[in-house]
Symmetry: C2
Subunit: 656 residues, 2 copies
């Protein structure tokens, strides 16, 4: 007894005894045995595991980036009118993007070391530029994580369904995408570490195969290797492009800019590493920086490689209405390895593999950002709850749902999703690097000027690119981003205001509220008089002398009997109030009566006691009028009324 | 105050004040304004309205009965091998069925007068033969009401989709059926009276048109009228029948018996009237008897009429695999009125009309029987609840669902549903009439011997027919009925046993239980200390001196602060127990602690007080950890624990 009473502190027996409680077997089966809060540190990642988890997004984007560049050039009909340009531009654009990538990476090194606890654009911008820019960055990032999932999955599935063996399912892009997202979501609910190991394979396999493919494709011919150029698409249906023989210089510049803007899709996912530093093994910053660099090198190399191969082969990619040419990567690997060869399939599968799990980056990152936002009270606090496996389960689920919506909304078409993509990324880049400039100017540590200039240059470049992209892609869908981002920001601040309101409403700074002094009126609902209601009646009597039994008259014929039984058993102990219900409604009369009581006895505390009886088998609940939930629902909307459930377990010894 | 206290009887202000409470506007829109219990009598039916409501089933069954007879004869290839038989047998069989009908009707007159309060087979068999035969009859009837809905709707839709203008939808039999059932269900939820008037039109229209058609078809030719015999089906694909030139007498007898068994489908729905006597205007029995007779005459006439027309025209009907010939009625009206003529369409639509609303008979009758069964505690008591419009809403919904299941299961094919049909009907007939024999032998009123003989003869005939049908149709699906009926009866008795068990557990015959004498331990769940939890804390203090604040430690870092705040504000008034939760589970530690308390203080009454706070806008609930419902769910499974919800309304003046 005392032993129980005095257990105020965290020491004492309850600590030892409290923990081993049963865990729902189904959950254990699905999600594995829960991880204890104290084991948090064990889920850190080695560089080797971190690379696939955080870099697969960036690396995989080389595939669809190449495709989008070819799409723009193809739509302009260059392959027909300016073949020479068509075979040089892709490489040039890829190199341009790679250069930009280098600048960004260098500038991010500094961020990573300045923010070892996680230097996401949100935190950096918020710390240095203030909350609003922070929220802009956050909104842009959230949007992008969703797009990462949608685009990567869509691209991966497109590559798979373009394979000869998959032709039969070529129409079921959307359902396949949704299944893939569901699987990813599940894998992540089982914990980051697992997903890291699960997903390491495809990434490395893709990197190796892509390297082999590029080498073979570019070097092979020198040694007289014959590429299977027959399977490459060299034509587009006339409606899928607009060709004009004499493109003005401006027109060409416009095309180049447009293609460059598309190519920037390759930079998506660069943010991931700096956002996820805490997930690295110690020393976090150093490991993160190394991982980031390795990632950037691989990404740049692959992008340039793919682009030059596509140019060399004269691949044409385009789509219009229902027509879409095979994915560019599919065409390339078809040409290099031979469509249908083992290596070809291997390449296709690992491409799909890395793309599908690129989405996994977002699954690791979106929930983390959401959790940070919810700790700052900009998002619902459930997003900060850690699940059985110490992952932010709610964030994971939320991301999956949003991505499915996008996939369905855009019919799972990569080319229609991409234009929404780069805007957000570059907004985040620009904001975070401007933030870093502010940071150095404020801190003035060693070499602050150099550091500031490095970040400043990064901010400048990304800023210019952002402008270009926004203009080039506005009609193609960038406007959607503007709308969504503004909506998100509005939501953030509404939520923030609400939490602030609740906080000050609930704060006990101003002292604790005073106890209610008034009398206590207790109403017991009596459907009919049987043993099951007595515990409730007795409980009510414990609560107050002013107890009333309430019977709502659904069946007038039964009333007389009830009244007599009541008089016989309880008559002198508690008054019975019969409320007629001409329309057989349970709620109406009860509420009307409560109004009346609260009007007549404004100072009284009112309690409604609800007798329920619980039966032994689940199906029994179908055999009894289940009005309880309804009454509870209505009472829960009603201020000034306390609800008491007294349950009677049939077959159990009596209570109360 | 006193005024409120002393309102024990049904008189007094609450009666007047209690009734006018708000009614959910959506419900009013859907189901109209609720009918007061006192208006029950107003929904009685005049004979003119009762005929369509109760007789449409029987009358409409003439259409598919004819079709089923032709189906059997057609499948035997008689139209090819024994044309003369093929042109006489249908009429003979129809006359046979009509004769049987006459016998049954006469025998039912006596039932109706002996059981003015509703002489369904269930009641009659139960009263006179005992509960088990009663349940058999009940199960058979319930099964048949579901089949009535399925068969009638399927037949009606078949007729519609056979029309030239509907050819485009000819494949969507099932969905159309489901829509029709949904509409019926809705119409009935709006109340019997309404459905009566809504459905009177088509019935009478069908009767008139059918009469016209038969007259024209049979008499017309005598005056040289040319029938459009071109559109009649005269052939079946070879796989759809088995013809042999030399049919032995036995073979022919077998075919005739089989055809007769099918023709008995015409008798379905005869039960309806005697089951629904209470719905008639006074004098109920007399009106019901008249209605029954009128119905029988019409039914017999139409059946014979259709059969002779079909025979005269040499209509052939059959189906196999995906092939199905046009519905027989459609062929006839096509031949008589000319396919595509106004009268033809009128006939088709009113056929569909009466068939669709024949299902309505079941909607009027199934719920009534279900309610009777639930009053006798053989079915869940919710089935006895009357809805806003004084109809048994749950029964109506249940019937609709069951019918949809059948439609889907049998792909909406009339010919596959019919074999399940007649068995149940004739089981009911036989049982109820045997019951009546017992009744007369017991009562020995005036003319008891004659009456007993009349019913006995009825029972004998229907019994023989039942045997024939069961044998002829067993493989075609009658066995399903046996299975379902047995399952239903098993269910009935399980439910009955449960209610009996509960009843004696709850009965206060043995005296009322004694109040709980032990002390009272109260646990208040404290997620964190804010104004919102104080009402709960104070309420708990009202309940017992042994109050404990329970904090389940989901976030160890927050604990220290909570403990300090608690010491500062409540420390000396209530102990705070911190339950560690290494796996961040809310439920586990709480349950473990409750176990412990209940072990340490076995005699104590334990109450858990759950503070909840309710916000001003609905979406706010997404912004707060909603653990309340989970805790409630688990506690509701736990004997010996009372649950108290103390709600704190943000923005409201404080309570407790």
């Amino acid at each position: 007894m005392n032993e129980v009473r005095n257990r105020r502190t965290r020491s004492g027996p309850s600590r030892r005894r409290g923990s081993p409680y049963p865990i729902n077997p189904l959950r254990r089966l699905l999600f594995g045995y829960p991880t204890a809060t104290t084991q948090a540190d064990h889920t850190r990642l080695t560089k080797l595991v971190a690379l696939p988890v955080f870099a697969s997004d960036a690396i995989s984007s080389s595939t669809y980036a190449t495709q989008e560049v070819m799409l723009v050039l193809g739509a302009a009909g260059l392959w027909l009118t300016h073949p020479e340009l068509y075979r040089t531009l892709p490489v040039a654009i890829a190199c341009g993007v790679a250069a930009l990538l280098a600048i960004v990476v260098v500038s991010y090194w500094q961020t990573i070391h300045a923010y070892p606890s996680g230097g996401g654009s949100y935190i950096v911008s918020k710390d240095n530029l203030g909350p609003f820019p922070g929220l802009v960055a956050a909104a842009a990032l959230l949007m992008d994580y969703v797009l990462t999932v949608a685009v990567s999955i869509a691209a991966g599935v497109q590559n798979l369904l373009d394979m000869p063996i998959a032709s039969r399912w070529s129409d079921s892009q959307v359902p396949v995408c949704i299944i893939a997202i569901a699987l990813l979501c599940f894998a992540n609910l089982r914990g980051l570490r697992e997903s890291g190991t699960v997903f390491a394979g495809p990434t490395y396999m893709f990197i190796v195969l892509a390297a082999v493919m590029i080498a073979t494709g570019l070097v092979g011919p020198i040694f007289g290797l014959q590429l299977h150029t027959g399977t490459v698409t060299r034509e587009l249906p006339p409606y899928a492009y607009t060709a004009s023989d004499h493109l003005s210089v401006f027109a060409i510049v416009a095309v180049v800019l447009k293609a460059f803007a598309s190519g920037c899709a390759a930079m998506t996912g660069t943010e991931a590493v700096s956002n996820g530093i805490p997930a690295f093994r110690r020393p976090e910053s150093r490991n993160a920086a190394i991982t980031l660099t390795v990632m950037a090198v691989i990404l740049g190399a692959l992008f340039i490689g793919f682009a030059s191969l596509a140019a060399r082969l004269g691949v044409v990619y385009g789509h219009h209405g229902s027509y879409t040419s095979p994915a560019v990567i599919e065409q390339i690997s078809g040409a290099v390895f031979g469509r249908g060869s083992a290596l070809y399939y291997l390449m296709q599968f690992s491409t799909a593999g890395i793309l599908v799990l690129a989405a996994n980056t977002a699954f690791a990152d979106f929930p983390r950002l959401a959790a940070i936002l919810s700790r700052d009270r900009y998002m619902p606090r459930q997003l900060a709850n850690k699940g059985d496996k110490l992952v932010f389960s709610n964030g994971i689920a939320l991301l999956a749902c949003a991505a499915v919506v996008l996939i369905v909304g855009f019919h799972g078409s990569v080319d229609r999703l991409i234009p929404l993509y780069a805007v957000g990324v570059f907004t985040a880049f620009t904001l975070s690097q401007s933030g870093m400039v502010r940071h150095w100017l404020r801190e003035r540590g060693p070499h602050w000027l150099t550091k500031a200039m490095v970040n400043g240059f990064g901010a400048l470049c990304t800023g210019i690119v952002l402008a270009v992209i926004s203009i080039e892609k506005f009609h193609a869908g960038a406007w959607v981003v503007v709308v969504v981002v503004s909506a998100l920001i509005a939501g953030f601040s509404a939520i923030y205001r609400h939490y602030a309101f609740v906080r000050n409403k609930l704060s006990i700074g101003a002292g604790v509220p005073t106890p209610h002094s008034g009398a206590h009126t207790v109403l017991v609902l009596i459907p009919s008089l049987h043993r099951g209601v007595f515990p409730a009646i007795y409980y009510a009597r414990r609560l107050s002398p002013d107890c009333r039994a309430i019977h709502i008259e659904l069946e007038p014929n039964d009333t007389q009997r009830l009244v007599q039984e009541w008089e016989a058993n309880m008559g002198d102990e508690m008054p019975l109030v019969v409320l007629p219900s001409p329309f057989r409604s349970l709620i109406g009369p009860l509420m009307a009566y409560l109004d009346q009581v609260q009007i007549e006895l404004p100072d009284n505390l009112v309690t409604v006691v609800l007798p329920e009886f619980v039966s032994t088998k689940w199906w029994h609940s179908f055999l009894h009028n289940a009005n309880g939930p309804l009454v509870k629902l209505y009472l829960s909307q009603r201020p000034g009324v306390v609800l008491v459930n007294v349950r009677y377990f049939i077959g159990e010894p009596e209570q109360a």
